[in-house]
Amino acid sequence: MRAARIGIPLAALGAALFIFGGLMHAADTSIPIYFPNSKLIVKAETFNRATYVPIKEIIEFMGVPYTDALALETLTLRSGNSRLLMTKNSALMSYNNQILLLPSPILREEGRWLAPIEFLTIGLTRLTGTEFRYRPGTPRIFADNVDSPELEMNAQTLGPITRLTLRCSVPLKLDLKRDNQRAILAIDRPALDPVRERLDHRDRMVRSIAFDDSDGDAKIILDLTRDVTDMRLTAADNNRVFFLDLLTKKEPVTEAAPPPVPTPAPAAKPDVIPAQRKVRVVVIDPGHGGMDTGAKSASMVEKDFTLVFARKLRTALQTRLGPTVLLTRDSDVALDNEARSAVANNNQANLFISLHAGYSANKLDDGSSVFVMKDNFGQAFTTAAAGGRDQLFLPWYLGYRIHHQASVSAANVLQEELSKAIPGSKFAVRTAPLAVLSSATMPSVLLEIGNFNNPVNAQTLADDGFQKTLADALVNAILRFSQSPQAAN
């Protein structure tokens, strides 16, 4: 009897879950559909983890004639001679007598016809010729050839300030408003496609940063802490790049926001470091790592040498010059070349230095090289591919071209300082098609030191005193470069 008392309610619960489980319903969200000259906001609903959109609202907005047969529980859409027939609770549709399959069934809830979002591309595009684009998991749809420029957001803590950087391929108009602990950055541009919906950044100034266009108006919402007393919005690159700095009164800010200038990276960099020093963020890349050991000497592998030396250089730089110094890797991990230059690009570095040790088949060789990217690498190929037309988008590996002259200047300064600090050693400036430098959009150099195949040279490289001398020479070179006019170009 007792078993029956427990079993029957359990069975009833199981049956209920079985029957109604198919209609597990999550919260509604507003999704804007951007058409070339208009937009439609629809209430999307989630059933069984599938996003459903209301069919009738969309087709009425597009002016597609339809017949809603209540008795037959079918919805028929027409366009010219074509016909698209849908039936309640069925994932099958009939398009001109051809069967189309949706990933989830079509629903009819309180007089509303709801279809999985894939209905737009599988069914409606065939019927009307209007193409729909959406990225899975993002709450917006772009219809036809509507221009949807990508919006890139990045937040970072730069000492006393927190900076939100926005980049877009088209000029934007921003309006900043603050309502107590909430700041809203309204963007006067419809149909933006953010790379990330929200940033995983949290520090003492900001709790969350999220993009929102659920009402059709694009904006970035920042949830601020009480520490934020002031905010400063700076534009650069003809309003394609924006820096929003969150400030607190406790920290003095010595430099005013610079006016908008055509070059994005180094121009708008308000910081607490003196104005004449243009290198404020240095990214050091210890070459190799993880499974990729690099060259080997009798006592050391290249990946360990570069990491040890990079840490020493970071300390020397921070002690003497005080810039923000970031390492592409601070442990024994493998990184591909693109990820290394991405660290520099994403942090708006003013200088990128990749560190390597040399290996020559000649055991007597002890020369070192300062490399810059090979001039005009990929240019002929890219120009040929463009067919003489102006290219709007360049391949990523041509990023080096923006600051190539500045890279050459940095390499020359490095060569001079190294030759001064280590007399008797050769430091040649060379060019090569180097992967790690190709997509770095700031002055960037690669230093290949010594020869691991030369036992004496390898021993010298491992010496702590030698590494300190080398680090000091590099700091001197970076200081000289940061004061030169090329650093801003």
């Binding site: 060259a295 080997k296 070349n337 088949a361 000649n362 190929f381 090569a432 992967a435």
Partner: protein, 210 residues
């Protein structure tokens, strides 16, 4: 029969069955290894064609090898190949000379010994696609200068001697690789660069003679 003997026999039987299964698997593995080796050797490979005919005249070519010392990274050495009718066969002969290495101690071998040319193809646009075996990357000793000289030894030797070849695209193991050994980009076809050699470009030489 006592119960413990029965249990012992059952356990022994199960153990024997597992061991048999393992043994069978080993046999299978050995068989598959043998089969793999047969596949690698490719029994259906067509017989190698000669790279030149006996009647082809000889021609002197400059083969660029890494310099053991000095300011130039690559130093040219004159060698003789035969002027075969097909440009691809001349290119193959030049690659053979690069693989064989230099004749003097002042130069170094540009390619790892294990590296082999698997295929070569020249497009109508004058791009030579060369497919090297995986050893070209895996057996490379590393170092940027080493990598640079390996690549430009091939590119310069082919483009300097065969004007029909405008650029060289290097493939490794039949596929496109981002870099040869982690440093130098191989994503695009590479053009002749004599600035790292001890040889003056043809055009400059002509200008000097005028």
């Amino acid at each position: 029969m006592p119960r413990h003997i029965k249990i012992g026999l059952i356990v022994f039987g199960i153990g024997g069955a597992i061991a048999m299964g393992f043994f069978v698997d080993i046999v299978g593995r050995v068989r598959s290894m043998v089969n793999e080796r047969e596949t690698e050797e490719n029994p259906f490979k067509p017989p190698a064609q000669p790279l030149y005919a006996p009647t082809d005249p000889p021609m002197t070519v400059k083969i660029f090898f890494p310099a053991a010392s000095g300011d130039s990274l690559l130093v040219a050495e004159d060698q003789t190949i035969f002027k075969s009718a097909e440009i691809a066969n001349r290119a193959r002969q030049i690659l053979q000379k690069i693989q064989e290495g230099p004749g003097r101690d002042t130069m170094l071998a540009p390619l790892p010994k294990e590296a082999k040319v698997q295929d070569l193809f020249i497009s109508e646009q004058g791009t030579a696609f060369i497919d090297f075996s995986d050893a070209m990357a895996t057996a490379h000793p590393g170092g940027i200068l080493n990598e640079l000289t390996t690549i430009y030894s091939i590119v310069d030797s082919l483009t300097y001697n065969l004007p029909e070849i405008k650029q060289v695209k290097i493939l490794i193991g039949g596929v496109e690789k981002e870099t040869l050994a982690g440093h130098c980009l191989l994503l695009l076809p590479l053009e002749m660069d004599l600035s790292i050699t001890n040889v003056i470009p043809h055009e400059e030489k002509t200008a000097q003679l005028k």
